[in-house]
Subunit: 365 residues, 2 copies
């Protein structure tokens, strides 16, 4: 979280976001759902994936690349698998729809797996995975994304930051949520460094010629993000392998565009002229915990797992081990009380958006 003077009330931000989605032609239900996904990102402290992206979705709609009233449908299925066509809809709406199918299949058969094609950016993976957790299921969510990441040994942008999320219900403790970009650093971290003017650590990006760089603006000169691991010695082939896994499950399996064909999120870049599939792809899954052992046993052992890991001996007594999902939950509690900090550039962007669409401006009282 960055320093900012302005905090916006959650409900004001939600209402404004809903109005924007309504203005581009979404149904009330879709506008509410899409706003919920974006505001969840803001609440959870994943600022790069919240309302900071709202104008990006609108610009995709302006370019005719986003269908505000999609006919989302199943195009292929077995008892526990399905492929969903998102009809160029908002990923924010298509992904929860797909997850509900996965959950419904899991209720009957123990598990459900849905690949999605012809979609757009789906926001934070964690939102979708948590839909399964609410039903005492293990949730999986992943998506491919605009190509910005190079495979190990390459200087060509071939993959997105391709996040993978695994979410596990617990008992007394909150769920464990592993939600991570498979690149060494997410794009949002570069943006933070850009605003503060500081160099970035080695191992995050390389130049267009494949030389390691600490310039936070490197991507604007044709540079690229590096896979988790950074270089071959530190396991970048593993980050590449994980990113490839996300790309194949999300797009090769569903019939979406994969690798360098994945359509860019930014509207000023055109999609590939010869696509290999339709839109962007996601992969959602739900696995019933009680398909393996009684749910009370599972939750008791999840609690024991969390308790024990929280007690793992720290290097520095002031910095205990962080359970995946804890920082996002803490941010959420704080921001529900104190409001969501929004940086000036995003406020200006939202203001302009209100003007363009003829909406009342965001309340900043």
């Amino acid at each position: 979280m960055e320093k900012t003077d302005i905090r916006i009330n959650e409900s004001d931000l939600r209402q404004f976001t809903e109005q924007v989605f309504l203005a581009i032609g979404c149904s009330v239900a879709h506008a509410k759902l899409a706003a919920d996904v974006l505001v969840a990102a803001d609440l959870r402290g994943i600022d790069s994936h919240g309302t900071a992206r709202l104008s990006g979705y609108v610009r995709l709609w302006q370019k005719g690349r986003l269908n505000p009233s999609p006919q989302i449908r199943i195009v292929h299925e077995t008892p526990t698998t399905a492929t969903v066509d998102g009809d160029r809809g908002l990923g924010l709406v298509v992904a929860p729809y797909a997850m509900e199918i996965a959950i419904s299949k899991a209720k009957t058969y123990g598990s459900g797996w849905v690949a999605v094609r012809n979609s757009n950016h789906f926001g934070i993976a964690g939102y979708h995975a948590l839909l399964a957790v609410e039903k005492d299921m293990i949730g999986y969510a992943m998506t491919n994304a605009s190509p910005l990441v190079t495979p190990t040994f390459s200087k060509e942008r071939m993959l997105g930051t391709n996040p993978m999320c695994y979410a596990f219900p617990a008992g007394d403790y909150p769920p464990v949520i592993v939600d991570m970009a498979t690149s060494a650093a997410a794009n949002g971290k570069l943006e933070i460094a850009q605003r503060s003017g500081s160099p970035i650590p080695e191992g995050w990006v390389q130049t267009k010629d494949g030389i390691p760089s600490v310039n936070s603006h490197e991507l604007k000169s044709g540079g690229s993000l590096l896979p988790l691991g950074g270089d071959r010695t530190h396991g970048s082939h593993k980050g590449f392998g994980l990113s490839a896994t996300v790309d194949i499950l999300s797009a090769v399996l569903s019939g979406a565009n994969y690798g360098p064909w994945a359509p860019p999120f930014v509207a000023y870049l055109d999609p590939h002229p010869q696509p290999v599939g339709e839109g962007l792809g996601h992969f959602l899954g739900a696995l019933r915990a009680d398909g393996f052992r009684p749910i009370a046993d599972f939750k008791a052992h999840m609690d024991n797992w969390i308790r024990r890991f929280k007690q793992a001996e720290p290097i520095d007594q002031q910095q205990p081990v962080i359970i995946p999902g804890e920082p996002e939950l803490a941010a959420s509690i704080e921001r529900k009380m104190k409001g969501i900090p929004v940086v000036k550039s995003v406020l200006d962007d939202l203001s302009k958006l209100a003007d363009d669409l003829g909406l009342s401006p965001l309340s900043t009282d």
Copy 2:
């Protein structure tokens, strides 16, 4: 692969390994299967997981920690999920049994997911995942392991190198196999550095006090392996999250021991006196590719994915992008022809094993 003077014929190594498993009381079928898993590791160049570990399994048996004639059985299931109790058997045998259940469920319902408890080290994850690929399914295989890895911010060994494997069938190309430890470096890499006497890169290990180290012997002084990413700045919380995912799916879900309770592979260390589950855990999955789109389409696009990634512009023209699984396949082809290189210390170990068990020595002609 290290320099060595001695190469052993695949069939000689296989026959010797089978004899060892027969000598400790395995059935013919189990001995053949266990040998196949170990020799597959040697063929694929994953030397740390092949017959180099054979004496380790025998020592577990000598300690009474390994049941050579297990009654492997399903203890809980739904149409697409199951928990298998390995009855303290060889993971080399229990994991393929569990994968066959996953495959059988996937044939009927589209997917199958099996958590395993009360097992032991299962060799290379890739072997088990490939059983699904042979049936045109996507294979998943993971396992927890002896605690050697610290979570981010901790100096306590809490996790194993916890590998995860995803394997995808292709058409004209060989399968894509992502098979990786979730630590920055696998233990085998430290062993190579130990033999050559060279320091290891920063970001692989830390001292018992949590200080970064380049000493390949650090683990013997209470040090630990680091999660993929190495440190927080380079994403070690992601490596920790992946390792946690493997631990939870393999052990919390199945009723095996998790985290610091996972039983050590080395027989000279005793298992935890107050276990939280039974033995080690695995998690296997099979997902029918034709559960999402016609298999011919999937394979054609997998081939296109592989072809395009192989063509990704390299930084150095001499070093093209490596598709996950390619180096292991190349090693396998070479070693089937020229024999499997075995280092002297392993040969000595196998020789001693033959003596102990009253077997004919390994043929090294």
